[in-house]
């Protein structure tokens, strides 16, 4: 009997664990180690952050789902990996620290035959002075929508802003990224248009100034170097698309910005041209930069081997080409295909937890040397697809032996579908529905734009709203492993 341990029960880890268990059956064990008792459909946190949904609408308890699936669930966080075992034993294991199940704070060793790291991002608020609380959490000056609890709090603060605006006090809202090396511009993009929509609905739009700030060198970069789509006989850049949206909704933008400091009601930033500025706000939602969650790795003799397994940013090294190269030399083939660690063939990573070989957007820095460029996003669809491919590979390794062919899922050969809503109603508000193919541009296959114009498209309308509603219910249904769940694509 082989044991697969999955660290992280989010979008990617949950997909990997549930498929692996389905394919491996009772003959083998699947263990999930994840610190939260609730699974969260993160994209809908945006609607929680404007009061259109409650936390309960976007989460559900994991324990009954794992019990039904026959998955061994440990409500704990993984702390360290020991891929060579320890003195007197060659069996690899991880150490975990419980956060629930009545064993809070207790440590345990969990041995594995195969290990998946799907721990997602550490929300690194502390990278920006004043954005964090100095202890790894969010500080008191801004809000976040990255977790369901953050989003619930963001909405409480937002309603106060609307109440003050109603009372005749002019309010300033700033939304965007909180550091020069942030990713997830899409989430901030979606949130700003939802806030704008809600301000309109509340009848206070005239009293609320809404401002965008981000590290993108052009509006609509989204951390993927922008995209192009067919429009009126042209291949139009996402810059036009994004600028049009901001203009239509009366939202000015500050881009190429690294937020260097946050204080009560005020932030400072540095721009790509080296100039600095400051902005006042009554309400700010700034996405933090992401890092790996800080797992350590130790050798048999207890020596630290974290740098061998993890990249300096804390993400797990996989089968990517990490050789440092100039932007002009980047290739689609630099991106990983199997997500297997090069040194330890029984360790894989999926979702946000794997180390990308380089940025997707062109690297840029200010004359002062401050890097100001979006880092690569790994949105829900790639995270799910990669999780499933990794589960497939491990299943084959267990069932067919160590020579089994590994399944591939390169972000340079896969697309992503994204829907950014503004509002939630079925007949009011509109959403931008986008697909991009491939996520990582391949300038050899598609010279010039890097992407296939037939499969990269976007449009704004109610249809996007309906799709977002369907995705919300469909993915929660799938994650609960309800009948037919495997038929719903990742």
């Amino acid at each position: 009997m082989a044991r697969l341990v999955v660290m992280g029960g989010g979008v990617s880890g949950h997909t990997a664990a549930t498929f692996a268990k389905k394919w491996l059956g009772d003959a083998h064990e699947v263990v999930v180690v994840t610190p939260n008792s609730l699974w969260n459909w993160i994209p809908s946190n945006i609607w929680v952050g404007v009061g259109e949904m409650k936390k309960e609408d976007v989460v559900f308890p994991l324990a009954p789902v794992y019990a039904k699936a026959g998955i061994d669930y440990r409500q704990a966080k993984a702390v360290s990996i020991h891929p060579n075992g320890k003195e007197g034993s060659d069996t690899p294991y991880i150490t975990i620290e419980y956060t629930g199940q009545g064993k809070e704070g207790q440590s345990e060793e969990v041995s594995y035959d195969y290990l998946i790291n799907a721990t997602g991002p550490k929300l690194n608020f502390d990278a920006t002075p004043g954005l964090g609380d100095g202890k790894g959490g969010i500080g008191g000056h801004t809000v976040s929508v990255c977790t369901a609890d953050h989003a619930t709090h963001a909405n409480l603060e937002l309603q106060q802003i609307f109440a003050k605006a109603k009372a005749g006090e002019r309010q300033k809202v700033v939304i965007g990224t909180g550091h020069g090396m942030c990713t997830c511009q899409g989430a901030a993009f979606e949130y700003i248009f939802n806030v704008e929509h809600e301000a309109n609905k509340a009848g206070v739009r005239d009293m609320v100034d809404i401002q965008w700030i981000s590290n993108e060198s052009f509006l609509g970069d989204f951390g993927i170097g922008g995209l192009h789509m067919k429009r009126g006989g042209y291949a139009a850049s996402s810059r036009l698309f994004a600028e049009s949206l901001y203009t239509e909704r009366g939202i000015p933008w500050t881009i190429g910005a690294h937020v260097s400091k946050v204080e009560d009601g005020r932030l400072e930033y540095e721009l790509l041209d080296g100039s600095t500025g400051e902005m006042e706000f009554d309400f700010a939602m700034l996405i933090p930069p992401f890092a790996g969650v800080g797992l350590k790795a130790y050798d048999k003799d207890g020596s630290d081997m974290t740098a061998q397994i993890f990249a300096p940013n804390g993400f797990l090294k996989v089968d990517a080409d990490y050789t440092p190269k100039a932007y002009e030399d980047w290739k689609a083939s630099d991106w990983p295909r199997t997500y297997q660690n090069p040194d330890f063939k029984n360790i894989f990573a999926c979702g946000i937890a794997f180390a990308p070989p380089h940025l997707i957007s062109k690297p840029m820095s200010s004359p002062n040397g401050t890097p100001i460029n979006p880092t690569p996003p790994r949105t829900g669809m790639p995270s799910g697809i990669i999780g499933k491919a990794v589960a497939h590979s491990i299943t084959d390794l267990i069932q067919k032996g160590p020579d089994a062919h590994l399944h591939e899922a390169s972000m340079a050969e896969m697309g992503a579908a994204c829907v950014a809503s503004a509002g939630k109603g079925l007949t009011d508000g509109t959403a931008a529905a986008l697909t991009v193919y491939p996520v990582v541009p391949d300038f050899e296959k598609y010279p010039g734009l890097g992407r296939d114009l037939d499969y990269t498209f976007g449009e704004i309308g109610l249809a996007g709203h309906w799709i977002k509603h369907i995705l919300h219910h469909m993915f929660i249904y799938k994650a609960k492993l309800k009948p037919g769940w495997t038929l719903i694509p990742e």
Binding site: L240, E243, G415, A417, T427, Y455, I467
Partner: protein, 53 residues
């Protein structure tokens, strides 16, 4: 046009971009047209999903 006149100022940041006209905005919330677009977008997205697996 009214919205463009209110929001766009000569040589401001938003002067050089495209702004939707009334017809485009109407089509975004025209139920009949959006039902058609819903079907088209879903088919396109499913093709992208299939190509990605």
């Amino acid at each position: 046009m009214k919205q463009i006149e209110e929001r766009v100022k000569p040589y401001d940041q938003n002067f050089t971009t495209m702004v939707p006209t009334g017809f485009v905005k109407f089509m975004r919330t025209c139920i009949l047209w959006q039902i058609i677009r819903f079907i088209v977008i879903n088919i396109k997205m499913l093709i992208v999903v299939r190509k990605s697996h």
